[in-house]
């Protein structure tokens, strides 16, 4: 099936600020009227990093939030591309292609649980904003990170009102001392209509494992925003294959960029996903 790219467009916007949130987490705010007007929860944008031929490829980023004609992207300077983005100054041009991808199935009734690991916070503010626009108020965010400084600030998950955020850190510097998945059992007691997750692959696998082992009924809407090394972002290079399960349960490849990045967690081949090597971000 051909991806629906009718909303996607090239747009050169303007950087407003690159904010340092602490722990190496950055929030890039840019005036991008087309993206701001058309992004859906879970959408991503392909950003050009610099204007030369190295790094060559655009980098995909979830649209974290939109406000008026601006939008935000949350990231960390880990490679050549993101280092260039981190160095952007107010007024610099920002070359974008988007919005792209298949986003979240946004439910109309709660309760809703969002599980975020590290930079997996990125798609949630836009999602939470849309949930609240639809009248869903019972939203619980489980936010985990390695250490307190790397927790996306609770007040940024939604503005103006903040949803309930329960935090966990691997080193115990804030919130629960341990994995974010430790918080799941209690969250499931509310019988959520939807659970959305985003974070590193091992964390997402742990979320699914915890859900299955809990014995609780799985939320009807159960989705994760995934990532993969990406070439084009719009379905032509076929580079961003993810291991999924076909209708009969057999392994199939699906494209992160157009079939995803949001995938039904029931259809992810978690074993295959966990076997993938770590990202190459030299």
């Amino acid at each position: 099936m051909t991806a629906d790219l009718r909303r996607a467009s090239l747009e050169t916007g303007e950087v407003l600020v690159v904010e340092r949130l602490g722990g190496g987490i950055l929030e890039l705010v840019a005036r991008l009227p087309h993206i701001a007007a058309t992004a859906q929860p879970g959408s991503f944008v392909q950003l050009r990093c610099g204007s030369g031929t190295t790094p060559l490829l655009r980098r995909p980023f979830s649209v974290a939030w939109t406000q008026g004609d601006t939008c935000g992207f949350v990231f960390e300077a880990v490679g050549a591309g993101t280092r260039l983005l981190a160095d952007l100054k107010p007024g610099d041009p920002l070359d974008s292609l988007g919005p792209l991808g298949h986003g979240f199935s946004v439910v109309d009734t709660g309760p809703v649980v969002c599980v975020s690991g590290g930079l997996g916070c990125a798609p949630f503010p836009l999602l939470i904003n849309e949930l609240r626009r639809r009248g869903v108020e019972d939203i619980l965010v489980l936010n985990g990170a390695r250490t307190a400084t790397r927790l996306y600030p609770a007040e940024r998950f939604a503005r103006p009102a903040v949803p309930v955020v329960a935090e966990a850190t691997d080193d115990g510097t804030r919130g629960h001392h341990g994995a974010v998945t430790d918080l799941l059992a209690q969250a499931l007691q509310s019988n959520p209509s939807a659970l959305y997750a985003c974070g590193p692959n091992p964390m997402l696998g742990a979320v699914m494992r915890t859900l299955l082992e809990s014995g609780a009924e799985l939320p009807p809407t159960l989705e994760a925003s995934l990532e993969a090394p990406m070439g084009c972002g719009f379905g032509t290079c076929l580079g961003c294959a993810l291991p999924m399960l076909g209708e009969d349960g057999t392994p199939v490849w699906r494209l992160c960029c157009t079939d995803g990045p949001v995938m039904p967690m029931r259809e992810v081949d978690w074993e295959g996903l966990s076997a993938l090597p770590g990202a190459d971000v030299a």
Binding site: T2, A3, D4, L5, R6, A8, S9, L10, R48, T53, T54, P55, L56, L57, R58, L97, A228, P229, M230, G231, C232, G233, F234, G235, T236, C237, L238, G239, C240, A241, L242, P243, V252, W253, T258, L276, P277, G278, D280, A282
Partner: protein
């Protein structure tokens, strides 16, 4: 350059491209994504994703890795198979002005011949590009590296179609001109050069190859001087039209290919970065 540079290109056997700028195989799918992003009907040709007899799921990920000025890919010819292309995809090209040239890959002469035969009654297909140069599947290069085998393949395909047959050459050979001459003698109407260069990238934290099969095909601006030398050598060796491809990012880098004798060009990896690149190349050549 001027209007001459973007004039129609006669590739033979009734295939005339409205202009020389095309979208390279493997970077434009079957056109249905880019159709939504750009006005593809302004371009001369779309060379489809490499298509095989049977559907292929492709290689395990990661399938792409970025390198200096380029990228490695190891897609593994993921495609829906020739029957689906003929029955489902081709009808959607019906009203397109861009000429759709189906790229065909295979592991044997019989597989190539079968694919070409399936396409014979399909009116929307403007021509055939024989991919004898995929570095990412077993036997992908068997024909591309051996002038005798390449000629045998072209002769077999020539026997079953009157359509324009373009042969896409591999740069991963000692003497690309020898392969070009062999396929010309065997009845090819044109050649396109080059496919990707075999390349490798090491994941420095682990010491292992980034791509699971060890190597992939290198494309992007990094290869333009290499590909240009190969295309110049081919242009000096054959009389049939040569289509230059490799690392084109703008009109200047495309013009280099025309200067060395290519009649048409294909834009590949640059489309991933900017889907409008091929249109910018066309406008730049005109201006």
């Amino acid at each position: 350059m001027s209007e001459d540079a973007v004039a129609a290109v006669d590739l033979g056997r009734g295939l005339t491209l409205p202009n020389p700028v095309g979208l390279a195989s493997g970077t434009a799918g079957y056109g249905f994504e880019l159709e939504q992003l750009i006005d593809i009907n302004r371009l001369g040709a779309l060379y489809t994703k490499g298509t095989t007899v049977h559907p292929r799921e492709g290689n395990p990920p990661p399938r792409v890795a970025e390198t200096g000025g380029g990228m490695l890919n190891s897609i593994g010819l993921q495609n829906p198979g020739i029957d689906a292309v003929a029955a489902t995809h081709a009808p959607r090209w019906k009203d397109w002005a861009i000429r759709v040239i189906v790229n065909i890959a295979g592991g044997s002469v019989e597989e190539y011949v079968h694919c070409v035969t399936v396409l014979e009654p399909v009116a929307e297909v403007a021509g055939i590009e024989l991919n004898i140069s995929c570095p990412n599947i077993a036997q992908g290069l068997d024909f591309g590296r051996d002038p005798v085998a390449a000629a045998r393949l072209v002769a077999a395909v020539r026997a079953v179609t009157e359509r324009c047959v373009i042969v896409k050459l591999s740069p991963n050979v000692t003497d690309i001109a020898a392969v070009a001459r062999a396929v010309e003698d065997a009845g090819a109407d044109a050649v396109s050069a080059v496919n990707t260069y075999i390349g490798k990238k090491i994941h420095r934290a682990s010491g292992r190859s980034v791509l699971p099969l060890g190597t992939g095909g290198l494309s992007g601006p990094a290869i333009q001087p290499l590909a240009l030398a190969a295309v110049a050598a081919v242009c000096d060796s054959v009389h049939i039209p040569v289509i230059g491809v490799g690392g084109i990012v703008d009109a200047a880098s495309a013009r280099d290919y025309l200067v060395v004798g290519a009649r048409a060009v294909q834009v590949g990896t640059a489309t991933f970065v900017n889907p409008e690149t091929a249109l910018q190349v066309l406008d730049g050549l005109r201006g």
